[in-house]
């Protein structure tokens, strides 16, 4: 999705957190439904498609969660029928569906987060917290693919040397240990060189800064302000009880009010923010050309 690709990771992270928190802690089923719809839409926009396997899994999960609540919880006053002399209530059934919607919505927003947050962006976030930790992670992440490749090479070489070819388990175990120790020696040897290369480039001089390709641009400010404004508005309305919803003992909800409508609209806009951003960008280019 274009909307996130040129957004500062801090802003994106804040945005995802706001939406997820909103969806998780709101009482209103409508809010959760909105979160689910936009979550799925956003995911499709980011990944272009959803795998059939994944879709099946989440549908299954949805129904499993929705169905399990009335089986275990017998609160509520409207009894639909009895199962093994346990009452199955309408309230418990609807609450199950509500939880399932919330769960799947949150999952999809996290999937979006996952898709947007490449390693690079995650490291940038870590760097904001601790530059040292970020550097450590960065070099560890460089090291892993190298380690894997080297292991493959050593095993292949040792195989042609006659290792791993014995049928005895003990011999093969020994071969594995041997090649692993060779791998460790190589890693240590490499680490000495890496250390030299770091020192040669002034590591440890003091006053180290942390550089990143991400900048805080005007677009980021606008997006951040919009997130904060819509989020606050929604939180204010929710806190006022305008979006209150209770399942037990009987379904009851706050009467329709201006605040309730404003809160719902604010949350919808919050969820739609990436789409709005993209739309505006598209319009901008359309008008310009």
């Amino acid at each position: 999705m274009n909307a996130f690709s040129n957004l500062n990771p801090v802003v994106s992270a804040f945005y995802f957190a706001s939406v997820a928190v909103g969806a998780m802690f709101s009482q209103s089923p409508l809010i959760k439904l909105i979160a689910l719809v936009f979550g799925v839409a956003c995911f499709l926009r980011l990944e272009k498609r959803i795998k059939a396997k994944e879709l099946c899994f989440w549908l299954l999960a949805f129904f499993a969660v929705a169905a399990s609540n009335p089986l275990f919880s017998h609160n509520g006053t409207t009894v639909l029928f009895f199962l093994n002399s346990n009452p199955i209530t309408l309230e418990a059934l609807l609450f199950g569906v509500d939880i399932a919607v919330m769960l799947v919505a949150t999952v999809f927003w996290f999937k979006c987060f996952n898709s947007v947050f490449t390693e690079e962006k995650l490291l940038y976030l870590f760097g904001k917290i601790s530059p040292k930790l970020a550097l450590l992670l960065s070099s560890a992440l460089r090291f892993l693919p190298h380690f894997r490749r080297k292991h493959k090479k050593i095993v292949a070489a040792q195989k042609t040397m006659g290792m791993f070819s014995s049928d005895s388990f003990a011999d093969r175990m020994k071969s594995s240990i041997r090649s692993f120790s060779a791998l460790m020696t190589d890693a240590l040897e490499g680490a000495v060189e890496t250390g030299a290369s770091m020192k040669a480039r002034g590591f440890g001089l003091g006053g180290r800064t942390s550089f990143s390709l991400f900048e805080f641009k005007k677009g980021d400010t606008v997006f951040l302000l919009a997130t904060v404004a819509l989020g606050t508005l929604f939180a204010y309305c929710s806190a006022n009880g305008a979006l209150g919803f209770e399942f037990y003992p009987q379904i009851s909800f706050a009467a329709l009010s201006a605040e309730g409508i404003i809160g719902t609209v604010a949350f919808s806009l919050l969820c739609a923010l990436p789409f709005l951003k993209e739309g505006l960008q598209w319009l901008f280019w359309k008008l310009k050309i």
Partner: protein
């Protein structure tokens, strides 16, 4: 003005018996391109590292290293870090971070520059070195050549005034290596950067170097323009470095030429074609040795790594006979190493037949195959070693090859003597130099007494003299009946040692022939000696052959005679 001055520098590693440096003195002027060469173990790396105090080895030091009028030891840390750039040998382990852009910024972050400055410098470096295309890639996805270029760029981002390079091309293939060398030359020419570089590829660096520093047992024995090195070798005719000189110079030296030595192929051509007659234009090829049965046969072999990936080897046909040394040449990614893997049974052919001594490779059991039939020396000989000393490693392979314990000691001794590594047996495999490591790995392979020996790039990163020694060993092995198949980029090595050569291109073997046939038919993919004598002589491929023909024909006294 001398930017670097080394006065009477001696150095001894702790607990070492001999001196690593023994009164070395040299000075390098500002803007010069200086090449340090010498046999392995002559103290080149020690000298270079001592100049950069952050990575200087520990030990007993005497003498002075003066950079820009100031002793290196007393140099401000920040100045030393930024003004003296250092590129190490291994492209892989020098990289610190996981993204290309971050690697470029690493040194600048250490210096504590602000984001705006770093951004500008990183951008500048990326465009200058042409790495804008892979700027956002992960460092682990780069090729060896790209990695080394990145290392150079990230050092250059710190805007050094002097660049030190320790055999930066040793791990690279020839194309990536010459690309790297020309980038360094460009930096030297366009920015006036002082360059001090340790390098084995003298054929390429001699023509562009302003100064050649030749080292021998801890001393600097020559430090002048490369053209004058001929004079040095005239007095030291048996010097080990002679073998590594550019072909033009070697021919010049062997013919006892007078005046300035030719450096490039063009100059060498002029020297030979104008100086010598060509009434006898071909070398007589000694009758090729007769070989035994077919040891390795590939019939219509195809291979791909995964179902969706393109074919790496397609319809490869090859027969190699017992006792023969066959060299497979070719560019990068043409499937040479993969083919070697197929013969070794590491890669399984998707189609076609692989026969070893007339039997399908699949019909041998693992222990038969790797017991005493096939041995493969991988590109990185380090992968072969698993123990803490060379001796333990060799003992280990004896155990695997079912050699009796009481015999093992004798056998190890014999092999070590044959390869000339007896003095290295107590050392850790990782402490050996490139050439020594190659020999130790070969010793391990030979203890299995294989009938077929497969070598992948055996000359990578070893100097000319070690290469000669290695070539001699291979020839002896072939004479004792072992079949050797070598995959190499090294044209000179193939010309020198192969019985037959083949060119691998686009997944198949295209042309075959004895080195003399093979190389004299190629016009680019051939030895420097052949390029020098092309047109003048018919099939001279080696320096010694050119020299032989020149001597037979005698000097041209009247002028140029171009008729064949």
């Amino acid at each position: 003005m001398a930017v670097l001055e080394i006065k009477d520098l001696s150095f001894r590693y702790p607990e070492a018996e001999g001196m690593a440096l023994n009164g070395a003195s040299v000075s390098v002027n500002e803007g010069e391109f200086a090449v340090i060469c010498g046999e392995s173990g002559c103290g080149k790396t020690t000298l270079l590292r001592l100049i950069k105090k952050e990575i200087a080895p520990f030990g007993k030091i005497s003498g002075e290293i003066i950079y820009n009028g100031e002793s290196v030891e007393k140099l401000n840390k920040r100045i030393s870090a930024s003004e003296i750039g250092f590129v190490l040998q291994d492209p892989e382990s020098q990289i610190v971070t996981d993204f290309v852009w971050h690697e470029l910024a690493f040194g600048l972050e250490s210096l504590g520059l602000d984001s705006q400055t770093i951004r500008r410098r990183v951008a500048e470096m990326a465009s200058y070195f042409g790495i804008a295309d892979w700027f956002r890639k992960k460092t682990s996805e780069l090729s060896g050549g790209q990695k080394q270029l990145l290392n150079l760029a990230s050092v250059m981002a710190m805007q050094p005034k002097m660049l030190l390079l320790d055999e930066p091309t040793a791990q690279l293939d020839p194309i990536a290596a010459s690309n790297f060398i020309s980038t360094v030359k460009k930096l030297n020419r366009e920015l006036g950067l002082t360059v001090v570089m340790i390098e084995h590829r003298l054929e390429e660096v001699f023509p562009i170097a302003d100064r050649v520093i030749l080292m021998d047992s801890g001393r600097v024995v020559f430090s002048e323009s490369p053209r004058r090195i001929g004079e040095f070798f005239k007095e030291n005719k048996r010097h080990a470095m002679l073998a590594g000189l550019p072909a033009a110079m070697r021919i010049f030296g062997l013919l006892s030429g007078e005046g300035e030595a030719p450096l490039t192929v063009g100059e060498g051509r002029r020297f030979v074609t104008e100086g010598y007659k060509n009434s006898i234009s071909s070398v007589e090829i000694a009758k090729t040795r007769s070989f035994g049965e077919a040891a390795v046969e590939l019939k219509n072999v195809c291979f791909r790594y995964e179902k969706e990936t393109p074919e790496v080897v397609r319809n490869a046909e090859l027969s190699v006979y017992a006792g023969e040394h066959f060299c497979i040449l070719g560019g990068n990614g043409t499937g040479k190493t993969t083919t070697l893997g197929i013969i070794a049974g590491v890669n399984k052919a998707n189609r076609g037949k692989v026969l070893l001594f007339g039997k399908r490779i699949g019909s041998y059991s693992q222990s038969e195959l790797y017991g005493s039939l096939v041995a493969l020396l991988p590109q990185d000989p380090q992968d072969v070693f698993v123990a803490n000393t060379v001796e333990d490693d060799l003992a280990e392979i004896c155990r695997f090859s079912n050699i009796e314990k009481n015999e093992a000691g004798e056998k190890i001794k014999a092999v070590a003597e044959k390869l000339g590594i007896s003095h290295l047996l107590k050392m850790h495999p990782y402490d050996l130099s490139g050439g020594e490591r190659q020999k130790a790995a070969l010793a391990k392979l030979l203890l299995k007494q294989p009938k077929i020996l497969l070598l992948d790039e055996p000359t990578k990163g070893i100097d000319a003299n070690a290469k000669l020694g290695f070539a001699r060993i291979i020839r002896e092995l072939c004479e004792s009946g072992i079949t050797v198949i070598t995959v190499t980029h090294d044209v000179e090595f193939a010309a020198e040692t192969a019985d037959r050569c083949g060119l691998f291109f686009d997944g198949e073997l295209i042309s075959f022939g004895t080195p003399n046939e093979f190389f004299s038919e190629n016009s680019f993919y051939t030895t420097a000696a052949n390029r020098i004598s092309r047109g003048h002589f018919k099939n001279a491929v080696l320096c010694s052959e050119v020299v032989e023909l020149c001597l037979k024909n005698g000097k041209n006294t009247e002028g140029c005679d171009e008729t064949d």
